[in-house]
Amino acid sequence: MLRKLVICSVALLGWVTSTPANAELRIFACEPEWAALAREIGGDKITAYSATHERQDPHYIRARPSLIAKIRRADMVFCTGAELEIGWLPLLMQRGARAKIRAGKPGHFMAAQHVPLREKPIAVDRSMGDVHPDGNPHIHLDPRNIILIARELTKRLSKIDAQNAGAYAQNLKSFESGWAAQLMKWQNQLHDLRNMPVVVHHRSWSYLIAWLGLKEVGSLEAKPGIPPTASHLQALLKIAAQAKTKAILRTPFDQSAPSEWLSQKANIPALILPFTVSREAKPGALQLLFDNILSLLRRANGQS
């Protein structure tokens, strides 16, 4: 039994080490938006894998064997941080035992460390629900953050793979200019949405709301991460109606029942906004994401 095992292991090792080393940098992204951004900046010099897909809530992911295998060979781990992935990423890092992506190395890139965070609590207690002590981690829905993160990513990539630093800088340049043009376009649409009253399911939209200047009337979850309760919804019904709420926002992975209930009672449209891009997103997908979100919001607000 043991001899067989040893023979198998040695054979396996031989097979693995004999596989030609892939020249492309392997980027392990925790969320699809970061995989998409990595593809924008990395171009053909990298391959990006997203640990989650667009219908998954990145708070709650199992540390599956497939993810251990992916992180084992990663040259960079590119995640949100701010404890969004606290339930699974540390475990993967530990199991993968990969020196070049451990905390402190350029290959360990937590996006939230490079943008200002909102809603940082002063005191945290578990009776308050799933509060992130570092602040709200859903940073990617403010397009201005995307640029800050793209720049830091370029720095990191150039450090890890100095040979291709020129290509990364070039990619950043063209991404930035494209993004700036988009920002300008979006900026023109912002005025119509300013102060649009909305109710959210979870505080997934805080950065989007801040960027667009929407008015958050309330959230379906009385406490973050704790499913909405009947009494809280009843109270919210009054507030939402008084505020002339235009839409109830939720992600594709939030439960539908609470927002549909409120939608019916208060006659406010329940809106599923895309929260991120697809797992295999091609370059340009991030811009489309914001285009989609804006057009859905404008429609709900009575503009076209």
């Binding site: 095992l5 198998c8 998954q56 404890e83 035992a97």
Partner: protein
């Protein structure tokens, strides 16, 4: 202060992004148009940026200095794994049990103390106190102390006390070493603390083959192969004190090896398979409250399977988990049942045990599960007929069903019903009501 800080950064970020706009614009006319607009924007923002930048710099300096001042743990109120060194976690669990049979013996097997049926009535189970932290850049250490009640008094049991290498320890990537006392890699459940189990009690094979869990003193290595599929193998050497070993003479009485493979099937299915072996030299192993002793060789082989399916990709909402383990044990040595005054009897036989379970989360806080476990005892040598090791042709088995309610990831309440037929003609109907709560730091559970 934070708000102003955010606004300042945003105000800087936007125009800076805009400034680089013309570079890639293909159309020359558009390029010029954009350039003009940007210039305008730039000018109008320049003054504000300058002042904001200064403010920001000041704020950052202030923040940096205030952060330094705030470092002492006493001033921090956040509950974070890193805020305390070490992280401290406490797991409390209590139960109320009712059994229809007065006694419970698993016929055909020598059963250790922790493999026995739990206590009837109200009781607290193991209270686990865990301390863990990175020692430095190269090592991680963890210790779990269980406070259990045995023979009417509270006893402290050292469940785990180990160190483990970190990725920066200088070992090749994927290789880890663990030393000390730990719940070693053997099957699925063994390396998990019982508070993470899906049922209130361990299945029969764990009770008879591992005395609930194998946590001897020793060293183990594991290596994750750099491949697209998850492949991990490893092995260890142990002192040989913990069941199924017992009182090693040399202090090096057991060794193990294992291999695991796993991966995803599509977006929402995951699978893991494993094979394990544990070899022990048993100097003297007492079971059945000291009545049965064994000396000789005891080798355990195990295989496990775990499959998870989250229909929407979100295990938080809905999830099906199938799990099964199979054990085979070869023993060659001398058994003695003083209770049945058998004297020393030569024994060379093998026994098996397995269980299969399904747990379904049908709503975010609610799960139901069913489990079947069964044992197949070894053939009884003539000298052991009528002893505790005589199964009399009966295969001990248990049917369990459970339902649990999870208020948050830190608290769970469970009801369970077992129908145990552990010896011929004895049907034990058991009801268990259990709570499991954790406070303090609580590490994520492995797959």
């Amino acid at each position: 202060m934070t708000k102003r800080y955010i606004r300042a950064v945003a105000a800087i970020a936007v125009p800076v992004c805009l400034a680089s706009a013309p570079v890639a614009a293909a159309d020359k006319q558009e390029l010029q148009k954009i350039l003009q607009e940007v210039q305008l924007l730039k000018k109008s923002y320049e003054d504000r940026i300058a002042t904001l930048e200064n403010k920001l710099r000041g704020l950052e300096q202030k923040k940096a200095s205030s952060n330094k001042a705030a470092t002492p743990a006493s001033s921090s109120r956040s509950i974070k794994g890193n805020s305390f060194n070490p992280s401290i976690g406490l797991i409390l669990n209590g139960r109320a049990s009712s059994f229809s049979e007065k006694t419970s013996e698993i016929s055909g097997f020598g059963v250790g103390e922790e493999g026995e049926r739990g206590k009837e009535g109200l009781s607290i189970g193991e209270s686990e106190l865990n301390f863990s932290a990175n020692v430095d850049d190269k090592f991680y250490a963890s210790s779990t102390v269980a406070i259990v009640q045995e023979d009417g008094s509270d006893k402290i049991e050292l469940e785990e006390a180990y160190i483990q290498t970190l990725p920066d320890a200088g070992l090749p990537d994927g290789l880890r070493l663990k030393a000390g006392r730990a719940l070693w890699t053997l099957g699925y459940l063994n390396e998990h603390h019982s508070h993470a189990d899906d049922f209130a009690d361990r299945p029969l094979p764990y009770r008879v083959f591992l005395n609930k869990s194998f946590n001897d003193d020793g060293v183990e290595f594991s290596y994750v192969v750099p491949a697209d599929t998850y492949i991990e193998f490893g092995g260890g050497v142990f002192r040989g004190d913990d069941f199924p070993a017992g009182g090693s003479a040399s202090g090096l009485g057991a060794w193990s090896a294992f291999a695991r493979v796993g991966g995803d099937i599509g977006d929402n299915h995951a699978l893991r398979l494993g094979a394990y072996t544990l070899h022990t030299d048993v100097n003297s192993r007492a079971t059945n409250e000291g009545a049965v002793t064994f000396a000789g060789k005891s080798n355990t082989y195990a295989a496990d399977l775990r499959y998870t399916w989250a229909p929407t990709g979100n295990p938080k909402d809905k999830e099906l988990i199938l799990q099964s383990e199979f054990f085979h044990r070869d023993e060659d040595g001398i058994y003695n049942d003083t209770g049945a005054t058998t004297g020393n009897v030569n024994f060379d036989g093998s026994s098996q045990g397995w269980y299969a379970q399904a747990v379904y989360k049908f709503a975010p806080s609610w799960r139901v599960g069913a489990r079947y476990s069964q044992l197949l005892a070894a053939d009884t040598p003539a000298g052991l007929v009528g002893s505790a090791l005589d199964s009399a042709g009966h295969d001990p088995n248990t049917v369990s069903v459970m339902g649990d309610w999870t208020n948050s990831e830190f608290g769970r309440v469970r009801v369970q019903y077992n129908r145990e037929e552990l010896s011929n003609g004895k049907e034990d109907n058991q009801f268990i009501l259990q709570y499991i709560m954790s406070i303090g730091a609580h590490g994520a559970h492995a797959f």
